[in-house]
Amino acid sequence: MTASGPFVVEARGLVKRFGADTVVDRIDLRVPRGGCFGLLGPNGAGKTTTLRMILGHSPPSAGTLTVLGEAMPAAGRRVRARIGVVSQDDNLDPDFSVMENLEVYASYFPHRRHRPLRPFLESLLEFVSLGDRAGYRIQALSGGMRRRLVIARALVNEPRLLILDEPTTGLDPQIRHLIWSRLRALTERGTTVLLTTHYMEEAERLCDRVAIIDHGRILAEDAPRALVAREVEPSVVEVRAGERPPPPELARQARVEAVDGVWHCHTSEPGAVLASLGDYPELEYLHRPANLEDVFLRLTGRELRD
């Protein structure tokens, strides 16, 4: 596989064990060049560990891993020179201003430095709508501004592959939409985006392909719409039913999950379900198309993960 091959990440039989725990369990993963690829999974599914292996920070216990055409973790330095990373934690440098954060970070990429650097860094700040904040201290930035600055920082080396670990967790809708639009702009320019998220809406809007991962294994991988079409019924009727059990006719028309006082009726015949519900005018319900969250819950189950 060369750097111009069709996959930016290619894992075969990848395993990561910590002692007796197998965190990543023989996964095969291919992230195509271009577009946005989502790694979805509950907490502890193995997403972050997979990203750490891709970056060369965690030597695989078994299997092979190729990133941008080079074998990892051996080619760590060369590969990271062409990758941008937006980590889950805020690790901006509090000793520096916004612009200094970018300048110092750029100095860690010896061969990819723009000349002159300053206008390039200013354009990165503009790109994430922080053009007027160059001189601000990090402590003076809101959470959303910090996340955008981390994104700008991840672009100082003009990466071929941008990796984001839960990029919009804890952010308000305005910021999330801004970040989504910036990520789309990047993919349009040819940058490959690989992200983890547990927001299914985010994955559905942003990702061309997603892999759903749980207990260290990939459960399904495809375009979000194809997954919805393949893994679940096209319609969902959610009924607020309280303690009462679902009537038997409903169970014939839909796959019904009764969870915490709500019947989730997954069905190909929403008309029939709604007609049956007409017999119970006191019940409130919501009819919606199936989405990636339904796929996710079907594949990973509903039990809590902490």
Binding site: H57, R77, V85, S87, D90, F109
Partner: protein, 264 residues
């Protein structure tokens, strides 16, 4: 277990990119230079003026050297130790753990080897600035009688490296800041008291005299003192070898321990 730790102890292979880490720290320091210099001059200057003038009046000469010059030359070495050690524990730990600076760096071509090398060089630089500050004050007060004192500058860098390695290793294994008071109390302070800064180690009981030969500050003082006072330097290579040994071993061990913390 063997398989997991094997990679951490392979030989370090730092690259020139380590200087980017050094520059990052230097840039933070320059921003707060005035208050930083005050700190570097402050405490050792207090010792120098308080003990040098206060005790010096009663002591006169020690080991054939004016006590003020004797003490100043010891403090040049010990302040390099203090400064490099404090940078290697409190400041480096802040970058390593709570501030997550290393996590950010490791997402770039930097490896742990480069980061530790850059940190050690920076700790040594701070040791050099500290020791150099004392040297300047001592010279201004007429206590520096030999032009050989300029060789203190490279010596101070080596002293800084010798103490930076162990300090960074402490940071790498530390669960919190509290841990460092053990290191200061059990390692650094005894050296400060016992290794010849305030009096010649010849005045210690025999057993202790042998024991302090194993401590790097003894060798740092043994080199710095004659350079400042103009006396001939004895056993220079042996002293340099001990300091270089601590620096090299400290680098190797701290790289391995920082890898253990970050590459899992």
């Amino acid at each position: 277990m063997q398989g997991r730790s094997a990679g951490h102890w392979r030989l370090p292979a730092p690259r020139a990119l380590a200087f980017a880490v050094w520059r990052r720290n230097a840039r933070v320091w320059v921003r707060l230079m005035a208050s930083n210099l005050l700190f570097h001059f402050g405490e050792p200057l207090l010792y120098l003026l308080g003990l040098g003038f206060g005790l010096g009046r009663f002591i006169g000469e020690m080991d054939g050297v004016d006590y003020f010059a004797f003490l100043a030359s010891g403090l040049v070495a010990s302040s390099a130790m203090m400064s490099a050690s404090y940078e290697g524990i409190y400041s480096a730990y802040t970058r390593m753990v709570p501030q997550k600076t290393y996590d950010g760096m490791l997402a770039t071509p930097l490896e742990v080897d480069d980061i530790v090398a850059g940190e050690m060089l920076w700790c040594a630089t701070k040791g050099c600035i500290s020791g150099g500050s004392i040297l300047v004050v001592a010279a201004a007060l007429g206590a520096v009688t030999s032009a050989h004192a300029v060789f203190c500058i490279p010596l101070l860098l080596l002293i800084g490296l010798a103490f930076a390695g162990p300090a960074l290793a402490m940071s790498a294994i530390s669960p919190s800041y509290d841990f460092f008071s053990y290191y200061i109390t059990l390692v650094i302070t005894p050296m400060f008291i016992l290794c010849g800064v305030f009096y010649p180690i010849g005045s210690l009981p025999d057993a202790l005299q042998h024991a302090v030969q194993a401590l790097p500050l003894t060798h740092a003082v043994a080199l710095a003192r004659p350079l400042v006072t103009g006396a001939p330097v004895e056993h220079a290579l042996a002293h340099l070898a001990v300091l270089a040994g601590f620096a090299a071993a400290g680098f190797y061990v701290s790289v391995a321990l920082v890898r253990r913390r970050f590459v899992v």
